[in-house]
């Protein structure tokens, strides 16, 4: 049986990764990810984790090295944040095209400039179309559970795709939280050994990463798109397996008091917990407010989202990143297009919040609800606003 312990979330994640018996990790330090790398290297140094820990000279090489090791047939792990993820960007679509099951933690942090080390989602959003499965954790327990499940999803024979587990930098990574750590026996029972689809080994020489002209490129892109779309079935299965074994259930879209809500708010990541408190407060005043937590960002859960939105009159989408010169925040434009074909869609409002670590208090969430509720004429529907910006 697992036991309940108080751990910093990065340490808990590193412990969880070690329980997955990785063969190799390639990590480069960056705040606020570094504690994951540090704790993993401690586990290797203490002989508690039998893995090659490669201290690369950049995030670009971190991703390159885990690609190489995964291609050799190893179970691999890396973690990064912000600028590090931007430096890896070139390699992300290559990893997914090669169908290498890499698990990566992203300690979400604002992208420069100006330089800022604090939390928002401007690092993950530019990676949207890289062909990686992307999930978001709301608290330490979720970060642990989703990290272990990520290996099983990534390595499933019908998936074979890389997965990013997004953990809000500082707000989540550096919190000391009570976490139930599964035991080694439990993880061994949950996670089967990695069986690669091909390996770089002389016993069967293969070529990986071959060059393609226009005669095959379209087919290769189509195959990759189908692969990530089809991964949803496996994601649901694996999370169900997790729920059966550990009693904690995960869904692509989760809700709080949403069934009868007139007005809904959508969050991703750790801010869901603060938004919940705001909703409780509003419910106490008789406002039918509810929450949608988007856990699965890619593949995008269209059907699940449509199902929870069918009754609400208003929807507030919060974004932790800006699409400069675009139609609104990246989550907002995604939700809008997801609901476009729906006859009874809610009026959608977009607030860009929590940039570069800016605190978003319960009162801010209440304020967003109140502002939208007051907009009877829907004058602000379909627009976006930087919440709390000094004018």
């Amino acid at each position: 049986m697992g036991k309940r312990v108080g751990l910093e979330v990065t340490v808990a994640v590193a412990e969880a990764v070690a329980l997955c018996r990785i063969d190799m990790a390639g990590v480069y330090p960056i705040t606020p990810q570094s504690h994951i790398a540090e704790h993993l290297s401690n586990l290797v140094a203490d002989g508690k984790l039998d893995a090659e820990f490669v201290t690369v000279e950049s995030e670009h090489s971190a991703m390159s090295a885990v690609i190489g090791a995964a291609a050799a047939g190893a179970r691999v792990y890396t973690a990064t944040s912000s600028q590090g993820l931007m430096l890896m960007h070139e390699l992300l679509p290559i990893a997914s095209a090669m169908r290498l099951p890499i698990t990566m933690a992203i300690a979400n942090r604002a992208v420069s400039g100006p330089l800022n080390i604090l939390n928002d989602h401007s690092d993950i959003m530019p990676q949207r179309d890289a062909g990686w499965i992307a999930v978001f954790a709301e608290n330490g327990q979720e970060a642990v559970d989703l990290s272990i499940a990520a290996f099983k999803i990534a390595e499933h024979k019908d998936v074979m795709l890389p997965v990013s587990v997004n953990i809000d930098g500082f707000q989540l990574t550096h919190m000391v939280e009570p976490v139930i750590m599964p035991s080694q026996e439990e993880v061994d029972a949950f996670l089967p050994p990695f069986v690669p689809h091909a390996t770089l080994h002389p016993s069967r020489p293969v070529t990986m990463g071959a060059f393609s002209m226009s005669d095959y490129f379209t087919e290769i892109m189509k195959a990759k798109d189908e692969a990530i779309k089809n991964s949803k079935k496996v994601i649901l299965e694996v999370w169900d397996d997790w729920g059966r074994q550990f009693g904690r259930n995960y869904k692509p879209v989760e809700t709080y008091l949403a069934e009868d809500a007139d007005i809904l708010m959508l969050t991703m990541g750790s801010m869901g917990e603060t938004a919940k408190i705001a909703i409780d407060e509003l419910r106490g005043k008789g406002v039918k407010a509810g929450l949608i937590k988007l856990r699965l960002w890619r593949p995008f859960p269209f059907a699940e989202l449509a199902a929870v939105l069918k009754n609400a009159a208003q929807l507030i989408v919060t974004d932790r990143a800006v699409s400069f010169g675009g139609p609104g925040g990246p989550v907002f434009s995604e939700i809008k297009s997801a609901l476009f074909a729906q006859a009874n869609r809610p009026a959608i409002y977009n607030y860009i919040i929590g940039l570069g670590g800016r605190d978003v208090a319960v009162s801010d969430f209440v304020g967003m609800f109140e502002t939208v509720r007051a907009d009877k004429a829907k004058a602000k529907a379909d627009t976006y606003e930087f919440w709390g910006v000094r004018e």
Binding site: D50, H60, S64, I94, L200
Partner: protein, 312 residues
């Protein structure tokens, strides 16, 4: 002809017959770089995994859905061949240690051109060498970005005309001296650094075999004549490499644990640089004075190197 007489007379008897790099590759006619790749495979044998950078050799060998490679091969991107190779090495090491793969010894090789090594890939290479991975890194140096159309790199020699440092009324081509990549690798204090040229196949193969036998990182800098980019006749690709060595433009040497040794193939007296420049279109615009200035530098560099071989 002395090369033939001395060393290569019965070469095929001494060389691994197995072709681990197949016919049907799309390299230009007379490409000495692909010849080098072929000879490298022969020297290293089956139990080798290659991580290649983007470049000529990648494009010509891996036209999906086919491959010229008969050994395991991976390509990821341009600047990261050394990092990918280091990951392959770490992965195989972990799997072998845990008994998840058979116990044979596999040598991992990272390879790239001069641009992929000296320019965009130098960070990943420096990191992989410094970390001490058990791998060979090979730079196939044809002295410009040939795959993209003969643009200058830091490996392009002084005076050569390329498409981004062309000779013109106000320019004599490349304005900078070639980056001394082998010395940069020597400064990493890795166990083995060597220069090779496929025009000297036995020296070439011996050095690859030595690199294979050394545990830890080794670096091989391979001079690879490019008839297309150098505007020289395809049949002279091998003799041009020989001239580069005989003029001291590209000396053959090795540095084992810091000790320099000139190759036996090095002539006692260097030929004049002109004999090497003359047949190449890329140097055709150079004036006598310009060639003399380059000759001075080549001689000085060569003397520096022979001094190291004497005393280090």
């Amino acid at each position: 002809m002395n090369i033939v007489e001395n060393f290569d007379l019965f070469a095929p008897r001494l060389i691994n017959k197995k072709e681990l790099f197949s016919c049907g590759h799309r390299a230009c006619s007379g490409c000495a770089e692909v010849l080098s790749v072929r000879l490298m495979c022969k020297a290293l044998g089956d139990n080798t995994v290659v991580a290649s950078a983007t470049g000529c050799m990648e494009i010509v060998s891996s036209m999906f859905p086919t491959t010229a490679w008969r050994i395991p091969w991976i390509h990821v991107a341009f600047e990261n061949a050394a990092a990918v190779a280091s990951g392959v090495e770490a992965g195989l090491k972990a799997l072998r240690k845990k008994g998840k793969i058979d116990d044979r010894y596999i040598k991992v090789v990272g390879m790239a051109g001069d641009g992929g090594t000296m320019d965009i890939g130098i960070q990943a290479l420096s990191g992989a060498m410094e970390r001490g991975h058990d791998m060979i890194y090979v730079c196939f140096d044809n002295e410009a970005y040939m795959n993209t159309g003969i643009q200058r790199s830091s490996g392009t020699p002084m005076g050569a005309s390329t498409t981004t440092a062309p000779a013109g009324k106000a320019s004599s081509g490349q304005k900078t001296w070639k980056k001394n990549m082998p010395e940069i690798m020597v400064a990493h204090e890795i166990p083995y650094v060597a220069t090779v040229c496929p025009s000297y196949p036995l020296d070439f193969i011996r050095k690859f075999e030595k690199a294979r036998s050394i545990e830890g990182p080794s670096y091989i800098h391979c001079f690879s004549v490019c008839p297309t980019g150098w505007r020289s006749p395809s049949e002279t690709a091998v003799s041009m490499g020989r001239l580069a060595v005989e003029t001291g433009v590209f000396p053959l040497f090795e540095v084992e644990n810091g000790h320099y040794r000139m190759s036996a193939d090095m002539p006692k007296k260097l030929k004049p640089l002109r004999s090497y420049f003359k047949p190449q279109g890329r140097f055709r615009h150079l004036t006598d004075a310009e060639i003399d200035a380059i000759q001075e530098r080549v001689t000085a560099e060569f003397n520096k190197l022979t001094q190291k071989a004497k005393f280090l």
